[in-house]
């Protein structure tokens, strides 16, 4: 449907080209990052950003259907732990366990979303929050397998090297593929149906959109990608602990989405890049660093209600207004 609506726009063809060129430049830029930065630490930050971008984008995908998945960080943890346990204790290849983790997360997501599909709005959000907390505690209480609160260490890694460059390229590829898939879902009829359910499940069911089916589908797709992100995280980071996936992480993921812009696909990407990378710059402030994140939050939420993605639109509108006022004079 997206393509069709774009096709109505007579000037869309030219705009598409500029868009393709811009995305091309962006991707080239991302490809050259390891050449710009010799420091493994900066690459490390970029790699983590890529992981969180997948997580936040998949969270937004679920949120387009009107469900607020407050268990999303727990699913990230589920993916991470499944991949870690499979590769460390079962001895599977990390590459295999990564994808098994994604499917396990998807399976659990589907399993819970059938009963949860009865719950609306706040109840869904809260019950998924409890499920997330419970899931994490369950992971934690399996001490022998997961190391409990202390966490799990010495997880087999994807590449047998201390260098971070292969991880960067691999994760960049995985992230781009995931984003493209999520984007395709979003602009396809599936994505539109999710948005329709969000606006009115009653009306959408009256035209034949099955509420349960699409809500489950949204959770399944979202959980698959967040599970994948979790697996990537586990097999890159080598260590895992439950506290990295607790409910405050979910809330931060919602912040990534909201600050970036909930109504736009690039919202979570921009939000994650800004809110994950910028506070790192101030990490030298130690205990005072969290205030920087909070300051960004307040600034953006009070100035740009619709998130950072609305800035170009606002600028353009400002520019146009200025032009028209100068013309009228």
């Amino acid at each position: 449907m997206g393509s069709m609506i774009a096709a109505r726009d007579s000037s869309s063809r030219r705009k598409n080209y500029t868009q393709i060129i811009l995305y091309g430049i962006l991707i080239c830029f991302l490809l050259f990052i390891p050449l710009f930065f010799q420091s493994p630490y900066v690459l490390h930050l970029f790699i983590l950003t890529l992981v969180y971008i997948i997580a936040a984008a998949s969270m937004r995908f679920i949120m387009t259907s009107g469900q607020i998945p407050l268990a999303h960080a727990a699913f990230l943890g589920l993916g991470a732990y499944v991949s870690a346990v499979l590769s460390k204790h079962v001895g599977l290849s990390p590459w295999l366990s990564l994808f098994i983790a994604a499917f396990v997360a998807m399976g659990v997501g589907i399993f819970i979303s059938f009963p949860f599909a009865r719950l609306k709005a706040f109840y869904y959000a809260m019950v998924s929050l409890f499920f997330g907390v419970g899931l994490l505690q369950a992971i934690e209480s399996l001490g022998k397998l997961t190391g409990g609160l202390a966490g799990i260490t010495a997880i087999p890694t994807l590449f047998n090297t201390a260098s971070k460059v292969p991880y960067y390229y691999c994760f960049l590829a995985l992230t781009l593929v995931s984003l493209v898939i999520l984007y395709r879902f979003e602009v396809s009829r599936i994505g539109w149906n999710l948005k329709a359910i969000d606006q009115s499940y009653l009306v959408s069911s009256s035209v034949g959109i099955s509420e349960v089916k699409y809500r489950v589908l949204a959770v399944a797709i979202g959980c698959f990608f967040v599970g994948l992100a979790g697996g990537m995280y586990a097999n890159y980071n080598v260590t895992l602990s439950p506290s990295s996936f607790d409910s405050s992480v979910t809330l931060w993921m919602i912040i990534y989405v909201t600050i970036g812009g909930m109504n736009n696909f690039s919202g979570p990407i921009i939000g994650t890049a800004v809110l994950f990378l910028i506070p790192q710059y101030f990490s030298g402030l130690k205990q005072y660093a969290p205030f920087i994140s909070a300051a960004i939050l307040f600034l953006v939420i009070f100035m740009f209600r619709n998130g950072l993605v609305c800035i170009p639109g606002l600028l353009m509108a400002f520019y146009k207004r200025k032009k028209s006022t100068s013309k009228s004079r």
Partner: protein
Amino acid sequence: MTKKGFPFLLAAIMLAAILALTSLPGCSSKTTTATTTTTSASAQPIKTYTIGLCAELTGFLGAYNTATVNEAQIAVDMVNENGGIMVGGQNYLLKLVVEDGKSTLDGTTAAANKLIFSDNVKFILGPDAYFNSAVSGLCEQNKIMHIGGYCTMQPGELDSTTTYSFLGQGASINYFTGVLAYLKANYPNVKKVALTMPDDGSIPYFGKAVQQMVQDAGYTVAGSIIGYDNNAVDFSPYAAKVMATQADAVIACSGVVLPNGSILKNMRDAGSNMLFVVCNSVIPSDYVKVAGTKESTGVVDCSACYIGAPDPSPILQEMITRYIRSIGGTGALVTLEYANPVWELAQLFNKANSFDPAVVKTTFENMSSIETFYGTGTISGLKTFGIKHAVSYQLPITTIDNGVPTFKQWEPALVP
């Protein structure tokens, strides 16, 4: 779907982020670990040498580690004011760079990553407890020497695979040799003990070792180890559980002050007089804070927390003086969890005459004793960890009655 302009923004933000990151300290290749500082007084330039400290400055260990990091800084100052260290005929001053692990394993991993790759340090001190496992593996991989603070004996913290990791301050297990000997001598009525421990995954390892030790010392352990949730809202159920064992004493193994103090308080509130034995690095007077003055009674504390022994060594005396000055407060509250590793590392540099972690490590392994703030420490641990990498030394035993901590005696402790 309005998409126009978003690639622009995306690119701009990425660019901004990248530009910001390039100016991050340590990202530019110019930074080296040894920098020359010109001092006006001496003709010979004195260089500084940076060592890393991985600590949990925020999160549940936050305030505790802030204090221990403060001590580590004092120890560094003491080393520097005594003339620094001498390596290869060159005089160096030590510089401490601290990274925050946020009291999570992943945060600690990130902090260690930052120390290794961004601050380019070759020696990492800290962190404590199970967070060590996040650092040990990385240090092994990158051939960085690591001296941890406290150990809960979980896999990956210190074993034969972590050849670059050491424990500079006790090993948690050595507290028990001291306290059990003290209990035997002073509390002959105690026959049955209950054990409490945070349910953080260390029960199968640390808990098992402790249980074995307690049994070997001739005590019966009441029931199984009582594991509590570090984040529980209310600890009174655990207190009720401890009281229900009707043991003569309860030994609080590892864990931070909040749960232990709360359990103590709830036990006293409910009218139990059970002897409360604390075996971990917690400042005794913190118990008084958490449990209350009246409730803090009948407590035996064996930890690295020193409180007013009559005969401190000169360096300990110095440390206490400076510490009191630095917090501008009252009372000697010293846990020395990171200060001892600093002191040990300074000695090692002088002795090894090198900044190569492999050389320093070998030097450490070949030594049999090393000076600490608590007197001479022995290097051992082969039986417990499968590797001779743990420093143990005498520990102070303190009792608390009616909210007043009293130093009793030094108790020699040894990690087998």
